[in-house]
């Protein structure tokens, strides 16, 4: 008989309830963004609290198969859903990210100019809360089916969210690319899971690990290798790692900016968690196969993405490529599994801790970067990098937040959070003995700085008006199409300025302060 523990499921209930609540709010007050957003935010906060409360208690399992042989097995072995501490942490993270994104969504949901209709608030919040539910369940998942279903639940609402910008070809195109790549990679991951089931006869992580550890034959079977590669490759889509990265720039650029922020943070965290769970919990004995795959994906991802990012001139596309590169850094510590020295229990623990630490640092900084974009551009899309010229002069606080986020992503002081993140992953790679990986990461950090520095220079540079007057001795501005940039910034920026939604300000301020705090006290 399947045992269902409703307390373990509480966070998932609250998350799903949030979606329903957003939906009901839209029925009661159709199109009114205030109540709808408030309800969603409340639900997200409630989810975080519920997850935290459940997490402080004992480990609980739900959807458990009866323990075989009369022995009362530990709840983790045969339950599909286990509410333990790491699960609670992930659920809280997802809920808080959703809360942040809801805060950042205010400008996009406000009725704007006639040529730029607002996003429908009810649908928007409903889809966002659905996606959050997937993320919350993902943290608790303990078998392959629950994992893949929750990853799909996380992703599915996002197709709709990306396409939500009406009358925008870019939006539809982004959604289409996202959808196709996502379906393909989902199928690939499922195929991997199916093959793994065929080899081991188990779906629970612990069962798979036990089956692989128990039989050298099963471990060395080519089918197992194929299954591992397919499963990890399919999940690599979620973090936009290199074989499946091409969707990210088009989708981010086409999507409403808050959705892009959600994609690059929550969705990416989902992928990282899924890869972590699968590779460490289920494929522990198969790390000699999984390790090289992860190392190759990490190296390719950061190198290719950093090189391509050098040539971007649209802000969101640049952030998209940089987030692809960051995915490479996130996966890099897991690359130490490729070496025998990286597979000792201590090194695995350090690599996992480094991955999680880097993910947290990254998410905070990325959210701050997107928050700055939204605060500056309002409901408009990310625009060109040249449109941000002189931002730091016109809006010093916003400029400071943006610069801090970018510098942090580049991993330099005063963005101390990013610096520590860099130290953490290089240390993890080194502790596992993968010094070549540490050097690749280091070289990539240099390439990365090249484009972050370019954006920072634009932000801090003279304002378009000042630049137009001062073309002469300061001849470097003459090379850029300042006229075009000035014209556009001139009409778009004042619209956004002065009316920055308070929720955006609050969200951005909280995220930035958080970035500073974890910088000093990691």
């Amino acid at each position: 008989m399947t045992r269902i523990d409703n307390i373990a499921l509480l966070p998932a209930y609250v998350a799903a309830g949030t979606a329903v609540l957003a939906f009901l709010a839209d029925m009661v007050a159709p199109g009114r963004r205030g109540p709808i957003m408030g309800m969603t935010a409340l639900g997200a906060a409630g989810t975080a609290v519920a997850a935290w409360l459940v997490g402080t208690g004992a480990t609980r399992g739900s959807f458990c198969a009866p323990a075989g042989g009369g022995v009362a097995a530990s709840p983790t072995a045969t339950c599909s859903l286990v509410a333990d501490r790491s699960g609670a942490l992930i659920a809280v993270l997802f809920a808080l990210l959703t809360l942040g994104v809801v805060g950042l969504s205010a400008p996009a949901l406000r009725s704007g100019r006639p040529d730029r209709p607002p996003l429908p608030a009810g649908e928007y919040c409903f889809l966002l809360a659905c996606s959050m539910t997937g993320g919350v369940v993902l943290g608790y998942s303990h078998d392959l089916i629950t994992l893949l279903v929750s990853v799909e639940t996380l992703t599915l609402p996002l197709y709709g969210l990306v396409a939500l910008r009406r009358r925008s070809i870019a939006s539809a195109e982004g959604a289409m690319v996202f959808f196709v790549v996502s379906v393909v990679s989902g199928a690939v991951a499922l195929l991997g899971a199916a093959l793994l089931y065929a080899v081991t006869g188990a779906l629970y992580f612990d069962g798979i690990a036990a089956a692989l550890a128990g039989s050298a034959r099963a471990r060395d079977l080519p089918l197992t290798h194929v299954a591992v590669v397919l499963l990890l490759g399919g999940l690599a889509f979620k973090v936009a790692a290199v074989p499946f990265h091409a969707w990210a720039p088009a989708t981010y650029d086409g999507a409403p900016t808050p959705v892009a922020a959600y994609l690059s943070t929550a969705s990416k965290v989902g992928g990282v968690i899924a890869i972590l769970y699968v590779s460490v919990r289920a494929l522990g004995p198969s790390l000699p196969v999984a390790g090289p795959v992860l190392a190759a994906v990490a190296v390719l991802t950061m190198t290719i993405a950093n090189l391509v990012a050098l040539r971007q001139d649209r802000m969101v596309r640049l952030l998209a490529w940089s987030s692809v590169a960051q995915a490479g850094y996130i996966l890099a510590p897991l690359g130490v599994f490729a070496l025998a020295g990286g597979r000792t229990a201590g090194a695995v623990r350090e690599a996992v801790a480094a991955t999680i630490a880097y993910t947290v640092f990254y998410v905070v900084l990325e959210l701050a970067a997107f928050g700055s974009v939204i605060a500056w551009r309002g409901a408009a899309d990310g625009g060109r990098i040249a449109d941000y010229r002189g931002l730091a002069r016109r809006a010093p606080w916003l400029g400071a937040a943006f610069v801090l986020a970018l510098v942090g992503l580049a991993g330099l002081p005063p963005g101390l959070a990013g610096l520590f993140a860099k130290i953490v992953i290089i240390r993890a790679a080194g502790a596992g003995g993968a010094w070549w990986l540490a050097i690749v990461i280091a070289v990539n950090a240099v390439i990365g700085l090249a484009y972050y520095a370019r954006v920072v220079a634009v932000l801090l540079g003279p304002t378009p008006d000042a630049a137009a007057g001062a073309v002469g001795p300061g001849g470097d501005v003459a090379g850029d199409p300042v006229g075009a940039g000035a014209g556009r910034a001139g009409d778009a920026a004042p619209v956004a300025r002065g009316r920055t939604a308070p929720s955006v300000v609050v969200a951005l301020a909280v995220v930035t302060v958080l970035g500073l705090v974890i910088g000093f006290a990691p």
């Binding site: 290089i426 080194g430 540490a438 470097d476």
Partner: protein
Amino acid sequence: MSWLLVAVLALPALGALAATLIRAERAGQAVGTLAAALAFLASLALGLRRAQGGGPCCAIRPWHQLDYSWVPGLDLRFHLGVDGISYPLLVLTTLLTLLCCLYTLWRVEDLGRGRLLIALLLAVEIGIAGTFLALDLVLFFIFFEVVLLPMYAVIAFWGGPDRRRAALKFVLYTLFGSVLLLVGVVLIVVRAGTGDLVALSAGRGAALSSGTQLAAFTLLGLAFAVKSPLWPLHTWLPDAHTEAPTVGSVVLAGVLLKMGTYGLLRVAVGTLPDAARRLSGVLGVLAVAAILVGALVCLAQTELKRLIAYSSVGHMGFVLLGIATMTATGFTAALVGNVAHGIITGLLFLLAGAVKHRTNTGDLADLGGLRERSPALAGVLGFAALASLGLPGLAGFWGEAFAVVASLGRHQALWTVLAVLAAIGGALTAAYFLRMLRRVTHGPASAAVAGIDAPGVRGAEIVTWSPLVGLALAVGLVPTLVLAVASTPVQALASVVGR
């Protein structure tokens, strides 16, 4: 007294913050400069009441130190300390920053946004002073990185016409160096299990295998070679100097380059003595190559600031030669050379700025006859050039002469050859500085020089130049000023290497 260590870092930080936040331009500048002055006083005061703590065990015996745990997960401790090796460089840092702030106060009308420039200079000061004070490897790395972006901003926003490219080149080169430093630091920390410099140098590298030491020394050596800069990794320096504003050049040449040589001495040699001994020959050859290449390139330079920048490559070559000999004499020479180069090159860049400001050109072909139009300026320029070429009795002499002496003292064929070549390089240094003086100060006054409106030396210029002129004389006549404080730690360090 150890609270002064925090004060040296906290005062510039508060000053930078205040200078950024205060809306009134002049008030912001004044507060920033005040902070720089207080930081200078705090760093001076660190020389008082020296405690020879640490017992007889350690190669590093800080006069004052403080030690708190910061991030246990990364073995990162907030461990600061000052001793005879870092003290002269620390005081030089705070002094030059103060002078640069004063200079900015005066030059505000044509630089604009002097408030922010002062804030950035103070931010650079935090990084440099922190690097000199850090006694923890990871902390050392963090301060090493702090310098990067503020300096980038100083070059990129207050520099010459080609500033963006030069600034990007600077930041990418030095970031390349510092990420290698990070990998090297992590390698040492992971293998030795501690990042504490005192413990590491007390252990004399015993915790690290020979292969690890070689790998780590190569990584750290490359990192510091970029920063110093050591030939052939020096190409960012001339561009950065040519485009940087005067104060940027002063800080860059005066103290920023010292982070490389200091790091080599304290971190690379101090914690990896075995590898340092084995690679000293390579280091020596590269150092002499830097001396000769720097001198030869200088002979062909046509731009004043670029010439001084390349002369830095040569001077830092002498410093590195001193370190490469791995003897107490060599280390002392390197230390004195570091301080002397900071004083003299800082002065030279201030003077070059004054010349360029008056004539609007730095091209040697357009200059000439400065002696007739502005005798005071030409006189100080001549003094600085003589000091830089190593005239006995001035600061530049001791470092270069004793680097050669230390090299001869090794009594090996390679080192004798290196010493001879370095001496030839020293002679070439004299040649190009005299050529520069002939071009700039002698001969008939060129159109640019004749057009100088204000030939006299202004009060603000006297204020900023005179401490440096005085120090160049003082260190030249009484080198014990630096030697006295440095001798004990240098002997200790040499005993670690020469085990």
